[in-house]
């Protein structure tokens, strides 16, 4: 049931990227290129998406729980910290270089373009690298805590 709902949502999301043209890296870059022949379409996409999701989320908040799950799995963090700022900046560099963010990158796999496949593999590697680095940092910190406790 949950997987079925997710499949339909992914399908609608994919149609949204397809119809709006945001699946095309060239159209995204045309929005980011404010010094060139600027294409404001992405701003309209965001405004429409925010209008629908803002209203929808406001209604969902009034419900006790989701239809197919025990509770909302919404992020609870509110702190603006260094990882948020650094991560957003690094993502912005990559996004500006090619015009692909994760959604359109995955959707474009349907084109079987070798360059898209390489991009998605690199993106997965970047995510895995981050998770590996986080894991190592955690274990090093734990080891340091244990060593301090031994003394």
């Amino acid at each position: 049931m949950v997987a079925g709902a997710a499949l339909v949502c992914g399908f609608i999301f994919g149609w949204g990227l397809l119809v709006s043209g945001m699946v095309q890296p060239a159209k995204v870059l045309a929005f980011l290129d404010i010094l060139g022949a600027w294409d404001a379409s992405l701003a309209v996409v965001m405004a429409a998406a925010l209008a629908v999701s803002g209203l929808g989320f406001a209604l969902i908040k009034r419900r006790q729980r989701p239809l197919l799950a025990a509770q909302l799995a919404w992020p609870s963090k509110t702190e603006i910290d260094a990882p948020l700022v650094t991560g957003a900046a690094l993502f912005g560099i990559g996004w500006g270089l090619v015009g692909l963010c994760p959604g359109p990158a995955l959707e474009n796999l349907a084109s079987l373009s070798p360059r898209i496949i390489v991009f998605v593999i690199a993106m997965a590697a970047g995510m895995a690298l981050h998770d590996f680095w986080q894991q190592r940092r955690l274990t090093t910190r734990e080891a340091a805590t244990f060593a301090a406790a031994d003394r």
Partner: protein, 141 residues
């Protein structure tokens, strides 16, 4: 503005918003693609089924689109594989470190009025605009 397409942009944007609302309404999850995809790669996490299903739907959309007159245009990508790999690594690492991408922060987060998401979206938009300005118009180009 040469290629401004406000009508299709508004329809597509509304569909993206609808998908985000439905995913949360049914599963309680946030439609952040970097988080959904990242969770697929994490070997320790058990809840992969819905994540894989969402991504399958995302890839099926243009395949279905091709059947009804909405074909997926061949994506324009940089010639250099070095640039493609570097950008992919930055997008992957950056979205995991920053806890989201255009969908999770830019749409779902802002719609929930999350201060973290508003800050993240302003930063990645501004940086991406600066990168495009430099690569297309900077360095004497």
């Amino acid at each position: 503005m040469t290629n401004f397409t406000p009508v299709s942009a508004a329809i597509g944007g509304a569909l993206i918003g609808l998908a985000a609302v439905l995913l949360t309404l049914f599963t309680g999850r946030i439609a952040g693609i970097s988080g959904i995809f990242g969770g697929c790669l994490n070997l320790a996490s058990g809840d992969k089924g819905w994540r894989i299903a969402f991504i399958a739907g995302l890839i099926l959309a243009p395949l279905a689109g091709g059947l009804v007159g909405f074909p997926l245009a061949a994506p324009e990508m940089p010639a250099s594989y070095v640039v493609i790999v570097a950008a992919g690594l930055l997008v992957g690492f950056g979205t995991r470190l920053g806890g989201g991408c255009t969908s999770g922060h830019g749409i779902c987060g802002i719609a929930r009025l999350s201060p973290r998401s508003i800050v993240a979206t302003v930063i990645f938009m501004a940086v991406a605009v600066a990168v495009v300005a430099l690569t297309r118009h900077g360095f004497g180009g």
